[in-house]
Symmetry: C2
Subunit: 443 residues, 2 copies
Amino acid sequence: MTSLARALALSALVSATAVTAAPGDSTAWDIVSGLTTEIGPRLAGSEAEARARDWAKARLTALGFSNVAIEPFTIKGYVRGEDRARLLAPYQQPLAITALGYSGTTPAKGIEGELVYFASFDALKAAPAGSLTGKIAYIDHAMKANQDGSGYGPYGNARRQGPAIAAQKGAIGVVIRSIGTDNHRNPHTGATNWPDGVKPIPAGAISNPDADNVARIAAKGQPMRLSLTLTGTITDKLPSGNVIGDLPGSNPSLPPILVACHLDSWDLGTGAIDDGAGCAIVTAAALRARASGPLVRTIRVLWAGTEELGGFGGEAYAKAHATQPHALAMESDFGADRVWNVKMKLAPANKALGDRIAASLASMGIVRATGETDGGTDVGPIIRDQKLAVIDLGQDGTRYFDLHHTPDDTLDKIDPVQLEQNVEAWARVLTILGNEAGPISGE
Amino acid sequence: MTSLARALALSALVSATAVTAAPGDSTAWDIVSGLTTEIGPRLAGSEAEARARDWAKARLTALGFSNVAIEPFTIKGYVRGEDRARLLAPYQQPLAITALGYSGTTPAKGIEGELVYFASFDALKAAPAGSLTGKIAYIDHAMKANQDGSGYGPYGNARRQGPAIAAQKGAIGVVIRSIGTDNHRNPHTGATNWPDGVKPIPAGAISNPDADNVARIAAKGQPMRLSLTLTGTITDKLPSGNVIGDLPGSNPSLPPILVACHLDSWDLGTGAIDDGAGCAIVTAAALRARASGPLVRTIRVLWAGTEELGGFGGEAYAKAHATQPHALAMESDFGADRVWNVKMKLAPANKALGDRIAASLASMGIVRATGETDGGTDVGPIIRDQKLAVIDLGQDGTRYFDLHHTPDDTLDKIDPVQLEQNVEAWARVLTILGNEAGPISGE
């Protein structure tokens, strides 16, 4: 129903005058459908992520990529256990909870403590030192949806930094309202960070409907008490790895264009929008660009491992390929909804190249935006190290944080029409870049 | 956002010419908010359902009802255990599953078996006798949403009858696609039935996104294998009970109007739309009708226990009150979205009464429908036994089966504007009925 309505509304976005037309091309859909159906959840460091690497290598090879390789590395990961929470007072309520990545570990029977309510991350930061000793901190603050996803930075601090701050003030555990914009009983997981010297404490996120309930209860002003069970463990030396493959250009001396996504996913969903879709988009677009005619410049795809726990794959790629010059890097890691804007970081000498790309995208209704871009987690390290040019195709993130890091990140959430619009936008950019024989540089 | 849009769109439905105007009346919202926040899940036969009875008695008393009483009874219930499922072949996929009420019990380590795919309930019925021996049956068939909820009958057969039919063909377990219209990772529970002589087998429902995945995998034609763990148990002699309260009319000799809802809920959500909303609507409407002026006829509210497991509360009420004549019965148990039509079962002598009610509802945009009605599960037995008149206010069920019997049945799903429209429609009906001194009869 809504899919049909969206298809009708968006059909205008897929230009009938595509420079790289490929009628009926189902490559992107086949990749994300295959990856979610045949592998499913691909937690970094897990056996499933290893199966996904083998799957990726076979698929890229079958699609005609060259030099397809798995580049292994090891990580400090998080192995999920049992996740449970129950409000004990003033009312009894089971709470839908997920452990955060790198949560500390409770005993199997859980921990109990007073639940101290903070209306926001800033309120937690303002709490006096030692004031949480022996207690469980709770951080509220419902995230708002923005098209550009810009809420994730500030709201996400509750997840990224909140647990460590609570621990430093003496808390024995921390629970946050999910960093998400939906109202389903699906909590949003994600990694938290522990600065050196801060001992991890159990840290979880409850769903928005549960958080609404906690807020109503907290407003009554009676003491709250929580039972919290999060038995997962931080585990060293787990296997991970990147998968790469090339579509060689006719001039091997030209530095390649790097297009990236990440292969790992959180374990709650099947990693459809985060980031199976990204791998589908960059791969299908690279093939479509090459199908438009011979390219002078090589396009390399990087399906990175262990993005979710902190960008291990991107760092590993930058290190492994430090001596190989690259020209420009791009990444798709914001779902499968339509591309609506583009940011570029190009050397002044590449102004005409950027204008040609912008003009091609403008004909699809994609606007050129100013503002900085680091390219994203998977390509950020190589961009940083080699001062690469960047093109950042911005996707519509209005509903991205309804699904992000939840059990609901499944294939049915992908709109094939919008997925195709992504492939077309990417293919246009890669066709222009792949035909650019002159130098491409970020500064 | 959508709430606001809906509020604007629906404000026209709440007539400015209400015969029983009560500006700012938040009684209904307060009931459903209180019940979901202070009690939450209220599984029939559980300690939480007992807490809910005490809560209900206190609330009805505080609201001014007379003769408020808990009428206890015992039930054969279902005590949930651990629910897990994992596809083992041809691909590994964890599946979001819930046990059905009255599921058989697996060992703690679960059972394993070949998963035999049936595209529908009818396909399962057509399977040869003995063909499922040692196997786990899977029943697909995605339910479609209808405004009148009419899909629930036929699609629901997969849940109500499917497990017993699979057991009779030798199955060691059964899994169905959820009887629901959403695409979230929240499976829909609900009771299944075992005819005499059929030994219960483990029976669960997976969410629609998981079912989509199973359908894609089944389409490949390779054998599927499932690990299924459902450790809950069927348990006898659990405590349950009804809660009743009266708003006495000026003429105690007139048989009362009975308005009902159910107090128990499934355990996955907090029972907001099923059926906290119903209790909120009938109770607030009864109070609003009385507030419109003195009524000649008593209105009795029944907050029934153990509806979900098979209408134990309604049967207990009919038995306990068999010798007390009633006039007419109504029930609200289809969520909190707007009333859009009305069906009536009235004696020919009550034609003018019915026409007056229909005219009052018509001014709110509520249409009069033909077709039969049994009044619903909680009032059905007393209607059957005493041949009562029935008025059935039909709610918009388009999104009801997105939420029904899932973890997502929480307060945030209730639109206050539509809830108020229900109260107003009910109050108009009850005001007319409560002022009717002449005989009211069903035939």
